[in-house]
Amino acid sequence: MLSDITIGQYVHSNSIVHILDPRIKIIITIILITSLFLIGNFWGFAIFLGFNLIVIKLSQLPIKKVLRGLKPILFLVLLTLILHIFMTRGGEVLFQWKFLRIESEGLFTGTFMASRILLLIMFTSILTLTTSPLQLTDGIEYILKPFKKIGVPASEISMMMTIALRFIPTLMEEAEKIMKAQKARGADFESGNIIQRAKNLIPLLVPLFISAFRRADELALAMESRCYQGGKQRTRLHIMKLATRDIIALLLSIGLAVLVSFF
């Protein structure tokens, strides 16, 4: 069923990784990803891979879940690898067959780039697998707070994300219902070429958009009547507090990033 699709890929658990402060997790992810681009040799990648595996172990995530997250970008990784292998020139010639030629520089850069992409995706999926969308939203709001002064609407962005999260299941359910109703009138969503299929979606998309707009209208009214005033300072029910473990995790990651970036 459409409505069963979970938003993001969060897997609930009470592991040490799960209970880290979301702000810290986001910052750590940013630091590690940045340092990914500073890594100059394979040792760095090896260290990061090892680090990833430890974190996965600590978070009690099924390794399968993490691997499944890599699947959609597999094509991109392979493409990078192949393009580099055959296109990048330099170093010794390792293999030659007619116009196909592999040189050592290409092989090196290809593997290098592919490892970088894979690790990047691994870092971000660990974040989204261990942090609920709700926590992510709150975390992003806090991190963006200092940028309010230069006009970044931090709380509005987070409110938008909250509402999106709230309404995705509702709209999914609605989409499913509309789809069934149109199928009952003989609509066909499954066959035809890509253009035909896109056209066939109109009977689904038009009512869905109309409903979304109607909901937005009513929700705006309900929010206004509950004293929501856009940019005005709000308080929060849940206050995020940093624990010692958060600081330790942060320091560890910074250390690791420095290590891989400069050696």
Binding site: M1, K177, I178, A184, R185, G186, P207, S211
Partner: protein, 286 residues
């Protein structure tokens, strides 16, 4: 036999083994008017979606108009043409720019000729009581809520189904809207010989229209019979937290107070006559 379900079970949550339908057997003949009642989550919406194969059961066999829909290569097109389904708040599925276009959507999917489509749209609009010339070019989104609902129902009628299923068709309508809906259903049933299956929380609607009532609870059919038989089971219905029709409740209460009164009456007029008869004779006896 028009519709036949054998041992139909539907599990919608594999992990927790939650059954929306639990070993249901049911037969529906041509020209019946079936009323289905049950509280939210009792499985009634899942049941009716089985009738036109929008949901496939986890196990069991379903035969619709001699087509075994639970088989892999079943002709679902024929089934969906035979069994029309009007969902709750059907006006939420309108999408075309004109009323004509929206009603023509179904017939177009059947690949009918333009003449045939034209004739069907006209007839469907006439059935739901909207004037063809006045409404055909209007945008369905500028109509009133009640008119939108009628256009949506016309969209299903234009498929010329032999069975019409309606899921809470009167939800949100005012008394006049409900009355015209009721007379439409009566007409479709009597004059056009359409088999009707009606899901409703309004017991009055069920009792006044149905030839047979089905009560569902936890994915099972718990009562099945003539309205006057089903609504005899006052205790059973109350234990399922279903309301009795108000008239039935009045008559039952009078009976409990010692009046020798019939309880199988469902219209206000007859109930008034019966009460007068009983109360009157009591006064005479005094």
């Amino acid at each position: 036999m028009l519709i036949k379900l054998e041992n139909v079970t539907h599990i919608y949550d594999q992990e927790q083994q939650i059954k929306a339908l639990d070993d249901v057997d049911l037969e529906i003949e041509e020209h019946e008017f079936i009323g289905i009642v049950g509280h939210t989550g009792s499985g009634k919406t899942t049941l009716v979606q089985m009738f036109n194969s929008l949901i496939k059961p986890t196990s069991g066999r379903i035969v619709i108009d001699d087509i075994v829909t639970t088989e892999k290569k079943a002709d679902l097109k024929h089934v969906r043409q035979t069994v029309g389904l009007v969902f709750q708040y059907p006006e939420h599925q309108l999408f075309e720019e004109t009323v004509y276009g929206d009603i023509a959507f179904g017939p177009r999917n059947l690949k009918l000729s333009e003449d045939e489509i034209d004739e069907r749209v006209k007839h469907a609009l006439e059935l739901v009581g909207l004037d063809f010339d006045r409404f055909k070019d209007r945008s369905p989104f500028n109509l009133s809520g009640g008119q939108q609902r009628r256009v949506a129902i016309a969209g299903v009628l234009a498929m010329r189904p032999r069975v019409l299923i309606l899921d809470e068709p009167s939800a949100g309508l005012d008394p006049q809207g409900r009355e015209s809906l009721r007379s439409l259903l009566r007409r479709l049933h009597k004059s056009y010989n359409i088999t009707i299956i009606l899901i409703s929380h309004r017991m009055e609607e069920i009792t006044q229209l149905s030839t047979r009532v089905i009560v569902m609870d936890q994915g099972k059919i718990v009562l099945n019979g003539l309205p006057k038989e089903v609504f005899k089971h006052k205790g059973k219905l109350e234990s399922l937290s279903l309301e009795l029709p108000e008239i039935t409740e009045i008559l039952f209460m009078l009976k409990e107070r010692g009046c020798n009164i019939r309880t199988d009456i469902f219209s206000v007029k007859e109930a008034v006559d019966e009460i007068i008869k009983v109360i009157g004779s009591k006064e005479n006896a005094k």
